[in-house]
Structure formats: structure tokens, C-alpha cells
């Protein structure tokens, strides 16, 4: 029996003030999936993520999350935004950031309850940072800050995790660690992750959606060792073979950038 569908998008389209950012996007995300949304800058990856979490209402088409509108389902979604959208100098500790994930779940007024604090502590432990709750956020490294934001998303006790460029700007080794952590979380959680980096992403995920205006799903296939060596040297990378579903593939020329996976 196949896993139940969590996200269902049908002929989704969106534009801001100019031309369409997304058009005719159709896909399903099932329970247990770990999907990467890859594509070039400006291709609509983040817009798609923001539609799924309910921050943007699409102009065309229909999207359902857990069988209802994204806004209604938003309390069941753990969202990790791009780190650049947050003020790096804001006087706040890691623990306070994680506790924000309890909004909508825990105490509405006054101080946080003991269960909220327990969940936040567990979330920090799950991301491998059990001792930094009292540290100010701008004292942490870039990788630690991303983990704190991930812990905040986990503190919402989500059924779906949506991550927007969680590893952008991090060293490859830190990215590796982050993806290993996500693979662990994927044992119990469905994950949708926007990323510009197909090379590292492809080692971790179970599905790849390529978005550049529209969406095409790629199957993951191990590329022979000699190819891997040829493109990436001894570094362990699993390449993505792109088998576009041409039903949705109009004007789908794209470039994943230097160092990304090859397009067979």
C-alpha cells in the first residue's frame, strides 16, 4: 500500500507584479518522502515553498496540505526560512528562538509552560546542540544558527518539515553534517527542502523536484564510479540523472551551476 499523500498541488501558478514565477505546477508529496526542490535562482523554488506553508496564496491552481488549505494546515508544518531574512543582531538567545516554535501549540498568554520548555530542550538536543540555549544567537557559527532554526521548526511538533535553502553559504563539510541530520529526521518526518545545491542534496533525498517556472520530477540514479571520479574527484557525491517528465516540461532549460550534478 502506498504512503498517504500529504501535499497535493494541481496546476499551480503564481506571479508577483510581473511575469509568472510558477506555472502549471503539479505534484504530490507522500508521507515519508524527503524531497528536494532544486533549480536556478529566480526559478520559483522559494515561492513554491512559501505557497505550501501558507505564506503566499497562489493566483492559479490548487494546493492541499493534509487535505486542507495550507493556512489551515500551517500549525502542522515546521518551517525553516532562509537565514538571510532574519536580523543577525537581534538580542535573543538560541533557547528563546526555539521556544517560538511553541506558538500555536503551548501557552497563549504569559510565560511558557514546562511542557513547552521540555519540547524546546528536546528539539535543541535533536539537532545536536543541547548546551547552547543561553547563548546569544549572533555568538553562534553559521551552521549552529541553522540548526537552531531547524530546532525551532521541530519544536512545532510538525508532521511536515519545509526548509528554504537551509545550507546556503555553509562550508561543504557543515552542509554534509546538516544533511546527515536531516536524513535522521526523515525517519519520522516528511521533508520538503528548497536547495540550489543538487550535488550534496542528491545524496540525502528520496525525490528531486526541479523547478524553473514549472516543475519536473527527476529520478535518482547512482552514476557509475568512474563518472563520479571524473566530475567530482574522490569526494563522495551521488549524481542525479535527470529524466524529465515532459508533460510539464515546457521551456525547462536550466543550469544547476558549477559543481552541481550532471544532467544525463
Amino acid at each position: 500500500m502506498s504512503a498517504p499523500c500529504i501535499v497535493r498541488a494541481d496546476a499551480l501558478g503564481h506571479a508577483y507584479d510581473g511575469p509568472s514565477v510558477l506555472q502549471d505546477v503539479t505534484f504530490e508529496l507522500c508521507e515519508g518522502d524527503f524531497a528536494a526542490v532544486v533549480g536556478p535562482n529566480g526559478g520559483g523554488k522559494s515561492t513554491l515553498a512559501r505557497i505550501i506553508v501558507g505564506l503566499i496564496t497562489p493566483r492559479r491552481g490548487r494546493v492541499e496540505v493534509f487535505g486542507s488549505s495550507p493556512r489551515r494546515a500551517s500549525l502542522d508544518i515546521g518551517y525553516m526560512p532562509q537565514h538571510t531574512s532574519l536580523d543577525p543582531l537581534f538580542p535573543i538567545t538560541a533557547g528563546e528562538v526555539v521556544l517560538m516554535g511553541r506558538l500555536g501549540r503551548g501557552s497563549r498568554l504569559g510565560p511558557w509552560g514546562s511542557r513547552d520548555r521540555d519540547v524546546a530542550t528536546a528539539a535543541l538536543r535533536d539537532v545536536g546542540l543541547p548546551d547552547i540555549a543561553e547563548r546569544r544567537l549572533d555568538e553562534l557559527s553559521g551552521g549552529q544558527r541553522r540548526r537552531v532554526l531547524l530546532a525551532r521548526a521541530l519544536a512545532t511538533e510538525p508532521r511536515l518539515l519545509v526548509l528554504d535553502e537551509p545550507t546556503a553559504g555553509l562550508d561543504p563539510s557543515v552542509q554534509d553534517e546538516f544533511y546527515a541530520l536531516l536524513r535522521e529526521l526523515n525517519r519520522n518526518l516528511t521533508i520538503l527542502m528548497v536547495s540550489h545545491d543538487t550535488s550534496l542534496v542528491s545524496r540525502s533525498v528520496t525525490r528531486v523536484f526541479c523547478v524553473n517556472g514549472t516543475l519536473a520530477e527527476h529520478c535518482l540514479t547512482e552514476v557509475p564510479d568512474d563518472w563520479r571520479e571524473l566530475f567530482y574527484g574522490p569526494r563522495q557525491v551521488r549524481l542525479v540523472r535527470h529524466d524529465h517528465d515532459h508533460t510539464h516540461d515546457h521551456d525547462h532549460g536550466h543550469d544547476h551551476g558549477a559543481g552541481s550534478s550532471s544532467h544525463d
Binding site: 543582531l89 538567545t93 506558538l103 504569559g110 510565560p111 546569544r136
Partner: protein, 285 residues
């Protein structure tokens, strides 16, 4: 300093001014921290200037129409809350550019105040009083009003601390977690208006923005939590208003301008100290 303490014993108006400064420090320190961290300084500037319209109208009604129960600060409170609601509405659903509306409120509030004060006997002196502050205008009724504002500000901030912090740090995430962001933003704007009103008599509408923002910005450089920043900002504002009052009394200078110069000097000094500390930290292996 001894001379200032003796003067406090001798002159009731100085004691009232000192009390007003200390009471204003509470709401300004708390709200100023939100204003700085949410980068709402221009909005706060607009609120500060728009209160002149309320002050002018209340003063006119008090003097010309004989509404003796109406204090200028009542008008200031009304104008601040009205401006806060307008800005909150524009942020949420207005089609106009937000900065255009903020600028318009800034200028229209001033113009309204000037027109009403122009039609009020004694216009020249009163206009200067409200533009640049005058500690002599502080009266016991005003102190009671300041206590009320402090109680409201503290109660609201304690009760709504979690959504206020979330909206200040990450508005989008707060919205996804079911927080009514427009309502919380309007609440914050209203609190900002109230806090500004508490200081208007002492430093005037033109300079009040510096005393709302600079102590909080100074405190933020040395604290790790928003709540700690607030406590430090309250203490710092209390010291600065008291120091400004003492300095201006000793040197026979206008209290508002003296307090603002002292505040700006402390901010600049803190900036230098904090920059030096960061440089030392970066050099450490």
C-alpha cells in the same frame, strides 16, 4: 550635584519633573527596545510628531472653549493612538505606500497642532513648550497619567510577551504559528504612541524620538536577551533623564536639549566601547 539635590528639596516643579522623567523611563525603556529591534524608528518619529495635533486641539478646547477637564496630554494620547491605528491599518491592508502615509501623518499632525495653537491665546510660548519641552508644564495630574501609562504598558508587554517577541524577530514565522500579526503590530504601535506621550512634556515632540530609541540601542549592545535589554534601557533612561535635569539646572540650559545631548553622548561612547570589544574578540585565537 549637591546643589541639584538641595534645589529638589526647595522647588516642587523640579521634583515633579524628576518624577515625570523616572516614570517615563519605564514605558520608554520597554517600548523603545521594541522600536529599535523592529527598526520602527521612523514610525515612532511620525507618531511623536503627530501627537502635536492632539496637544494643540486639546489645548485649544481647554483655553478657548473652556473644557477645563481636558489636559493637553489627553489630546496627545488620543492623537498617538489614532496615528498608531492608521499606520497599523496601512501596514496590514492599505494600498498606499507605508512610508508615504507615515510622512503624511508626521506633517499633518504638526500642521494641525500649529493651527490650533495659533488660534489659542499665548500661542508662541505654548508651541515652543510642546516642540522642545518644558519641565515647568509637568503637573501632578500628569504624573498620575504617567503611572497609568506605565501600568498599561507593563501589563500588556508581560501578557503578550511571546507573540510580541516572535513578531519582532520573525514576523512570517509568527504568522504561520497562528499569531495575529496585524493586531500585534497595531498593539505595538499603540504602546509606542503611549510611551512617546510620557516624554513629550519633558523633551518635546521634536526630540522625544532620541530618548525613546537611543537608550534601548545602547543597552542592546551589552545584553543577550530582549528582556535584559528592556531592563537596562529603563535604568539607562532613568539615569539620563535625571542626569539631563541635573545638568540643565546646574548650567541653566533647556532640559530637553541637554537630556538629548547627554543621551547621544552616552550612545556614541557605548558604540566606541562595543566596537573596541568586538575588535578584541575577533583578534582572540
Amino acid at each position: 550635584m549637591t546643589e541639584f539635590i538641595q534645589a529638589l528639596e526647595a522647588f516642587p516643579f523640579l521634583r515633579l519633573a524628576l518624577g515625570a522623567g523616572l516614570l517615563a523611563s519605564v514605558s520608554c525603556g520597554v517600548v523603545g527596545t521594541f522600536v529599535v529591534t523592529r527598526r520602527m524608528t521612523v514610525v515612532a518619529g511620525s507618531l511623536a510628531h503627530s501627537v502635536l495635533g492632539g496637544i494643540g486641539a486639546a489645548h485649544y478646547l481647554h483655553v478657548v472653549r473652556g473644557w477645563t477637564w481636558l489636559h493637553p496630554l489627553h489630546g496627545a494620547l488620543f492623537a498617538a493612538l489614532l496615528a498608531a491605528m492608521i499606520i497599523g491599518w496601512v501596514r496590514d491592508r492599505g494600498r498606499e505606500r507605508e512610508d508615504t502615509v507615515i510622512s503624511a501623518l508626521w506633517a499633518v499632525g504638526m500642521a494641525t497642532g500649529v493651527l490650533f495653537l495659533f488660534r489659542t491665546p499665548g500661542y508662541q510660548a505654548d508651541l515652543m513648550t510642546y516642540l522642545f519641552g518644558n519641565i515647568v508644564v509637568v503637573d501632578p495630574g500628569e504624573l498620575r497619567l504617567l503611572v497609568g501609562v506605565d501600568v498599561i504598558v507593563l501589563a500588556v508587554v508581560v501578557a503578550f510577551w511571546n507573540p510580541l517577541l516572535a513578531v519582532s524577530y520573525d514576523e512570517e514565522f509568527a504568522r504561520l504559528r497562528g499569531v495575529n500579526v496585524p493586531a500585534v503590530t497595531t498593539l505595538l504601535l499603540a504602546l509606542t504612541g503611549l510611551a512617546i506621550v510620557t516624554l513629550v512634556a519633558m523633551v518635546g515632540v521634536v526630540m522625544v524620538i532620541a530618548l525613546v530609541t537611543l537608550p534601548a540601542a545602547t543597552a542592546g549592545r551589552f545584553t543577550r536577551r530582549l528582556s535584559h535589554t528592556m531592563v537596562a534601557a529603563v535604568i539607562l533612561t532613568a539615569l539620563l533623564t535625571t542626569g539631563g535635569l541635573a545638568l540643565s539646572f546646574q548650567a541653566d540650559l533647556p532640559t530637553g536639549a541637554t537630556t538629548i545631548m547627554l543621551t547621544a553622548s552616552v550612545y556614541a561612547l557605548a558604540h566606541l566601547v562595543s566596537a573596541g570589544r568586538d575588535r578584541v574578540r575577533r583578534r582572540r585565537p
